[in-house]
Symmetry: C3
């Protein structure tokens, strides 16, 4: 296939899965005529963007021809301050959305299949020698302090081209991780078994709660399949709270999972007892980092607690949308078993809730 | 029926009413094959959670066996500072969504039935001697000052178990009013003709505009049927504005009402002339307390006025989601007949608008 | 037709177009049985509100009987401070949503028709002598400084009655531009070939990023057809950034356009290369003014940059809803070709994205 007018039509995927995919979470029943979307099959038709092809050719005789950006090429980037290095793969993982098979909120079983093959980011020891635990959704927390440089060696073990695109942190244009049609840089189109090293800088003014996600040519399907994770840039002198939680609100829907039901999820799981059991003790400083990565708007609510919004208002519920991220902190003063959940009622009842247990 | 695996399936209700219930407000026409949801019929299968059953048994020989939490049990809770006591029932009420039968914005009649049996909180004199007016949607304003304790004696006159769950104010785990499966406390499952006394504390740091709503085992259906209301915790020294309005934005949809049309409502009514006619005078300090309690996101807009958001920005439109609540204040300077409305155009045109009249 | 009970039913339009109109952007495929809505045909049945009819009658013998508010009538309004005068028409315009026929993000053609007759506000030289360029969506930027009065001479060249309703700026009740049923003032119902002069005051406390839109009897259909634009009230001493952009996020959907596809748009266009190519240089102070004017919620995201929200948080993504408006500023420090886009994935992939190019 040529790189030209009749290129891959990602949007036809969306249209195909559209009715079911984007409407079912809003409660609508549509006949599941579309079935599961096979992203890899659609990716086969993809043309390699010119700059990516040129980088491939230039690297053909190099010691590591699989790398889209070798350490040598990295020399072109000034590494400011100390470096934090991560080794991350994207790979398939067998995933159970409701591993206990039950919903503890309603004390009832979740019937039907809840397993499928997700796509996940996975952390490794340097040079991809050993995995640091199993692949998980969301991906590993990327943590960096202001003044440091974040170096992420990313290897794509999936068949479709995917990428890593960060929010909040400073990155030069080549390090964006975004697919941009014929303007695409190598970091925006990391092919099967290729490695690309992203260099992102935690410059002053980038401190905050952020996230990262695939932004390659199949976007948003790989994100919907699990390719996202949290990123935090610590301000100078910032100390992590004694109890700290990173919560990604997202959805798993039939055209992605091949399952019959929709699941409104937190960190890859649905329903209290499957979503993270968060634990803290009275007197501890507690921090929640919350972000959204599906097509929907949510409101985060925590029972029995409240916190001060950056605008100075005391709140216990906060609206956020796709790719929004925020943090909240308080000193724990209220023991017991509490719910945290999305207050959009249909999301809440499709699994977007969990336990926060305070001793 | 046993308290076990095959327990009541609230979600099947949502699925049943799903297509119609959650999509019609977004404008979609779906055949009304589901009909009206009979919450009470579905509640019949509910098992009594263990702690609730134990409390019932323990109280069998007491002077007031109907009370889940007697005054004696309340002694276990320290009543800090002065107490504000409310006596509240939940009960059915014949409700007319469009009592004038007309929409004053379009100067046209609203055809078709607009009456149904809502569920409402109702305020009474002490010990439920006399009702303080008719049951209404939303329920009575609960008002308390920082340093005071809010004591709400709640009697459920509905057949389904329902509760009261507050936002913002401090409450210990037993006073949460949330149904929690097998972890449910008596306050999270108040049965027909039972009374439970909630003790909530307006500790420093809980000041603000809040709300309360059912969070029992049938949630969210009782909320959608009308079981919600405003709650305000006054800061020390806070003086209520000279003109003060509490506005709940919500929806009434066919599976709940049994009516043919969707109604996007403010305080239980749809369309200007039916929603509250708000009145103020030039020179008055005016306060709006706004909250959302349906499945949708809204933007509150007031014509001819603007106010300073807590973040310092001057705005005249504010986005909010389910269970979000906020207040705004300004000094009135602009006489005339103004609209306040949700700026989501379809909501606006399904009734979410009203008059603000300034002399 | 009488001004009475059986008046024009705008909502039946919405119901008619409902399924297709308000749900397709959310991804749902509905048979296009409704076809394109002919607003003018529906407007024919409209009754003239009493105050508008009275003003028409009173003016019958005047030098300019087409004007609903002559300069003489304007004398009733104090013009405070210097005046900024605009001459604006509403008129039909042939519009191409995707003028290049391509989507540069995916490097693919956009097949199918993308042209239709939009409705647009258009700026003219004084007394409507010469048009200041072609009619465009959004309408011309209205710019005024605190302490000035904004005078907008508005002539309706469309067949349906339409209006101009501003946000944020001060306006007296008669200058609201809103249709209010039998309470409607002449400025809320400007008929074909009639002129109305709106007087709006940029009083202290109205500074900010705002918008204006039709709020006449056919609302929201004329808004959905293109009748909206940006309005900015400059604070005392405020200097416009060296690079400044005004971006309206909105949708064009089949019942409005008569086209087959939905388009999620920025400033009337869909897909990178058609939406505005924004340009700035490193070192410049850059300002974005963003607002929404469709039925949906969006999140604005800019690649490679971040800014300080008014609440003090550093963000790169911001949620906003219908008629919300906000601004953001930063000093440019990152050259390259960047995306700006709505982060609601389906909106992004229906065209709500563009290039921000930094030298």
């Amino acid at each position: 296939m040529n790189w030209g007018d009749e290129g891959f039509d990602r949007r036809s995927l969306l249209a195909m899965g559209g009715g079911m995919f984007f409407c079912t979470l809003a409660g609508q029943k549509i006949s599941a005529s579309d079935g599961q979307i096979d992203i890899d099959a659609h990716a086969k038709g993809l043309a390699v963007p010119p700059k990516v092809a040129a980088a491939e050719a230039a690297r053909a005789g190099s010691p590591d021809p699989a790398a889209n950006a070798s350490r040598t090429e990295l020399a072109a980037f000034t590494i400011n301050g100390p470096a934090r290095e991560y080794w991350i793969t994207a790979e398939p993982v067998e995933w159970n959305i409701v591993p206990t098979g039950r919903d503890q909120m309603m004390n009832m079983p979740i019937k039907g299949k809840t397993k499928f093959t997700a796509w996940a980011y996975r952390a490794w020891t340097p040079h991809f020698k050993q995995p640091l635990g199993p692949a998980k959704v969301p991906g590993p927390l990327l943590e960096v302090g202001v003044g440091e440089t974040l170096i992420v060696h990313f290897r794509n073990k999936l068949k479709s081209p995917v990428t890593m695109h960060p929010h909040g942190i400073f990155y030069s244009n080549e390090m964006d991780g975004g697919y941009k049609g014929k303007f695409t840089d190598p970091g925006g189109f990391v092919q099967h078994n290729r490695t690309f090293t992203y260099v992102w800088e935690a410059r002053p003014g980038t401190e905050g709660t952020w996230l990262y996600h695939d932004h390659g040519p199949m976007d948003p399907l790989p994100v919907f399949k699990g390719l996202f994770g949290p990123l935090v840039v610590r301000a100078p002198g910032e100390q992590a709270p004694e109890a700290e939680f990173f919560l990604g609100f997202h959805s798993w829907e039939p055209p992605i999972t091949g399952l019959k039901e929709n699941f409104a999820c937190i960190n890859g799981r649905a329903y209290a007892g499957n979503t993270p059991d968060l634990r803290a003790s009275v007197g501890q400083r507690v921090g929640f980092h919350v972000y959204g990565l599906d097509n929907f708007f949510h409101t985060f609510h925590l029972h029995g607690h409240r916190w001060t919004d950056p605008d100075g208002t005391i709140i216990d519920t906060k609206t956020f949308g796709p790719a929004d991220s925020f943090r909240l902190e308080f000193v724990e003063d209220n023991p017991g078993r509490w719910f945290y959940h999305c207050h959009v009622f249909t999301h809440f009842h499709m699994g977007m809730n969990g336990w926060y247990i305070v001793d």
